[in-house]
């Protein structure tokens, strides 16, 4: 196998990695907000169940969770969900990352001084206006560094999809390396993750800078 065919084959894996990464972010970042509100809910059973969910998501390996979503339906309920791997992966990744994002958002919300709510309340802002106009923009600024960390972790975590033999870049690298007895695929994969995270860090830094006009 020439270097360029190797690169081409791995390129398809890179696209699938990026797809998994993007869909996970698009799903988990807003879902994390919903989870955060459920955790803060005044209805105790909802808050309690949400806490249990977060504890499980954070307390068990993501790799194990992926296996459960892929094979659980069959072993537990005898339901065969066919051979498509992406749905199980997306459910696993999105639910897992939503839990982490929820905790990040919650710490951001908790760090907001109560005076901001009181000032807005006295001026007559509704609860919804207060959240979207006053609180959320400041929370976003506060949680951005933690969100950046989480996104960088996600880039690397996509390699866990190889446990379901999903043809993302890490799985492909393993396959080619075995069949060609070559170390080069791993080098290519490593460079790919590094560059991807470099881009993520660059974009996040730009966003952080754009919010530096106030303290």
């Amino acid at each position: 196998m020439t270097f360029s065919t190797m690169l081409l084959t791995m390129g398809e894996g890179m696209l699938l990695t990026i797809l998994l990464f993007a869909l996970t972010l698009i799903g988990s970042m807003p879902l994390g907000m919903v989870v955060m509100f459920m955790e803060k809910s005044r209805i105790k059973p909802i808050a309690w169940l949400t806490k249990v969910y977060i504890a499980i998501m954070r307390g068990t390996p993501l790799m194990l969770q992926l296996l459960v979503w892929r094979f659980g339906p069959y072993y537990l309920f005898g339901i065969s969900i066919g051979s498509a791997k992406l749905p199980a992966l997306l459910i696993g990744f999105i639910l897992n990352y939503a839990a982490y994002f929820a905790e990040i958002y919650r710490s951001g919300m908790d760090s907001m001084p109560v005076g901001q709510y009181e000032a807005a309340g006295i001026l007559g802002y509704t609860k919804i206006q207060t959240f979207f106009k006053i609180i959320l923009p400041q929370v976003i600024k506060r949680v951005l560094p933690s969100v950046t960390n989480e996104v960088i972790t996600l880039v690397k975590d996509t390699s866990l999809a190889s446990v379901l033999a999903y043809a993302e870049v890490f799985s492909i690298a393993k396959q080619i390396s075995a069949s060609q007895t070559s170390f080069i695929p791993f080098v290519i994969a490593g460079v790919f993750y590094f560059v991807a995270n470099f881009i993520v860090a660059f974009i996040m830094e730009r966003i952080e800078k754009s919010m530096q006009y106030y303290k």
Partner: protein, 251 residues
């Protein structure tokens, strides 16, 4: 009467913070509230502005009942009515509580536009006039973090005034400020008093309270111990507690 609070009671757990307080404020009146730390001054203002719920008594703004007590239970007016009543007052906090992500101008303009639904251009014109009056004409595009404490507090006053309240409450507006910065804020409040703005001011600045107010209230231990003309209360206090308190301030 702009504000009528009667038989106000408030407790936190076992701690009774307000015990049967009466506070009535007439149109154009400037009332100062003084008293030792923990006497319930902030709690009274927080009850007046609905940041805390009272446990007994009655609150009325301009004859509209916000809260009343029947058979020992407090009933607050409905959401809509309270929202309407809220337009009658403003509150200036010790810690300013400006919105840090909004420019000075937007801090002043945003509530009139997005809460009262007023015309943006009209509000901007008024906001700029208010900033001018506060001596902040060239700070309109600055952000709160770029201002001194005194300037921030003047923005907070402008923000409150932009809502055109009938009565403005101040909770120790200068306690977070250095002495030089205190003066610039007190000068603004004094100017508002001369313009007959109705105000209730909790303060530890005794000479200011004496100079600016029509009436001084001395609170201690959740009671109004003494109140009256500032010259009377400061110059010739009747109650022993008042005398002691004022002596501590002189010394």
């Amino acid at each position: 009467m702009v504000l009528e609070m009667t038989n106000i009671r408030k407790h936190f757990g076992d701690l009774e913070v307000l015990k049967d307080i009466e506070l009535k404020v007439d149109n154009g009146e400037v009332v100062s509230i003084i008293g030792p730390s923990g006497s319930g001054k902030s709690t009274l203002l927080r009850c007046a502005t609905f940041l805390e719920r009272i446990d007994g008594g009655e609150i009325k703004y301009l004859d509209k009942t916000a809260a009343s007590t029947k058979d020992n239970t407090v009933v607050y007016a409905g959401k809509k009515q309270l929202k309407e009543i809220k337009k009658s007052f403003g509150l200036v906090f010790q810690q300013f509580n400006l919105f840090p992500h909004y420019s000075v101008l937007k801090n002043v303009m945003d509530a009139p536009v997005s809460v009262l639904g007023r015309n943006k251009d009209e509000v901007e014109k008024e906001a700029r006039e208010l900033l001018d009056k506060m001596g902040l004409r060239d700070k309109a595009d600055s952000y709160p973090c770029e201002l001194s404490g005194g300037q921030q507090q003047r923005v907070a006053i402008a923000r409150a005034l932009a809502m055109k309240p009938d009565i403005l409450f101040f909770d120790e507006p200068t306690s977070a400020l250095d002495p030089e910065l205190t003066l610039e804020v007190l000068r603004i409040i004094k100017q508002l008093a001369e313009e007959k703005m109705t105000m209730v001011i909790v303060t530890h600045e005794m000479s200011f309270a004496r100079a600016v107010s029509n009436r001084v209230i001395f609170m201690d231990g959740g009671y109004i111990v003494e109140q009256g003309d500032p010259e009377e209360v400061f110059g010739n206090p009747k109650q022993e507690r008042t005398k002691q308190f004022l002596k501590n301030y002189e010394g």
